[in-house]
Amino acid sequence: MSEYTSLTPEDLAEMLATIGVTSIDELLGAIPDDVRLQVPLNIPAGRPEQEVVAHLRQLAERNTSADDEITFLGGGMYDHYSPALIESIILRSEFLTPYTPYQPEISQGGLQAMFEYQTAISELTGLPISNASLYEGPSAVASAAYMSKLTNERPEFVVSRGLHPHARQTLATVAHGWGGRVVEVDLANGVTDLTELAELVGPNTCAVIVQQPNFLGAVEDLSAISQIAHAAGAVPICSADPLTLGVLEAPGNQGIEICVGEGQTLGNRLDFGGPSFGFLAASAHHMRRMPGRIAGQTTDVDGRRGFVLTLQTREQHIRREKATSNICTSQALNALAGVMYLAWLGREGLPELGELLMQRTAYARMQLAALDGVELLHDQPVVREFAVRLDAPVDRVIAACQDRGVNPGLALGHEYPEYENGLLVAITEQRSRSDIDTLVRVLGEVVAEIVGSRAGAGVAG
């Protein structure tokens, strides 16, 4: 009998008797033998709770968290500080426990939180309409692409290789479903190659999709990219890191029509990759093609301020197969953490944090570039992430640095074969100047040792 459920032999006998069979085998007798599993499931026997907890703890100890080493790992998820304030608010049962409200106007507090969130995203992106959040960054990119498909029905998406590889993969997977093609534009000196972009964009181009800052940390010229898209009647889409928008120009002010992104950097912890939230904001003429829910501000019969879910006529429970998306929900709790984080930083705090990141990142970039065996992969402006090329096998370098308590960053070559031995280094406000000095010392030692041993081997040979 199962050791994972509370069914007793007596329960089983009673249930079988009720339906008039004598055994499980008799119950399943109608299923042909050759499609039945003839052996017991390969699941270990049940164990006492205490043992299971101890076992899980052992498994968890095999992980290395951002608290266990000095980490410069980024590439889409970043080790920013999440203030205690956020946890104390999102753990309130009013926010933590409800499932999607089927009579949403009853939950005025929940709707107001969505409305405040949308207002913040709208201000950050420079675009007038924001939805109440999507699942995460990559699927938000795919949602933006589908919006543009509904707009002009063109088949081709021209996508910068500076867009996160996960976003490109998600887009390719989803676009396949509606017959869309994805064409990639190479990077030149770290940013989208505008000459190649202009050549690839044409009457079949549905949308042009880039990332700000891009995967290599470089700041893209969104105005130039929007112009190229608009000249061909394509929709310019940008995936942006919201935390950098305190110091970078809002994408909406640079001609971008749909701005999406990963919300993790706004007050959501790393938590082994999720959950987080995605955001999506757009210019007014895309309003009726936006996926997801939108909270609106209105007045009740007595003229008091209130909040409602609006534009629901586009959602799947009304529109069925013609819905603008099958997302009728949002990542409300994670988005709430996002808007609380922005409120915590405030209008002055967000640009101040951006400036701090730029200063520390510039320092780290300069120090690393001065090392023997390390050179910059590009010299574009950056905010908090940059790429270098090592004179040594990058995976070996990372492993050796980790042995000395420092994770120097992400190896680029796995996703970008053109950047063999490329290393992507991210700086957050949690990395002090002394942490950066440690990185420079450790990386310098490791690269020198590997290069030195190679040179030594060469002499000996």
Binding site: R288, T313, R314, I318, R319, K322
Partner: protein
């Protein structure tokens, strides 16, 4: 809200669309019954001028406070004008469905086919049948 009427000079499609033929051109709209079923119309998504529409196929959307509905073309044609007044004030579809609330002007590909649609008597009988169902 307009009074319930079904003008004699129009032809009617079973999806509650009307067509008014003017030479080799025609005007499309939705009937009183359709706008009444939709309720207050808040958005009209028209096709592009120059595009073609096909009889029995959808050419645009009307959104009311209750639902988004497809609009069906009663005849084949090429779009030569859309009603910008309805784009700006969708409520015209409710207040004047056969006049200011028109949706599309087309050049008919096959003007003779329009005579195959229901006339006023047939359409009102069809509506009565829907009521019985």
């Amino acid at each position: 809200m307009a009074e319930e009427t079904y003008p004699e000079d129009l032809r009617y499609h079973r999806e509650h669309d009307w067509v008014r033929v003017e030479g080799d051109e025609a005007i499309f709209g939705i009937t009183w019954f359709a706008q009444d079923a939709l309720g207050e119309v808040v958005f009209y998504e028209p096709p592009a001028v120059g595009s073609t529409v096909s009889a029995d196929a959808t050419y645009g959307e009307l959104e009311s406070v209750k639902a988004v509905s497809d609009i069906y073309a009663p005849a084949d044609g090429e779009v030569i004008a859309i009603n910008d007044a309805v784009v700006a004030s969708p409520g015209l579809v409710n207040s004047d469905p056969y006049g200011e609330g028109w949706l599309l002007r087309v050049r008919l590909t096959n003007p003779d086919a329009v005579s195959g649609l229901m006339d006023q008597a047939a359409y009102t009988a069809y509506l009565a049948g829907l009521g019985d169902a």
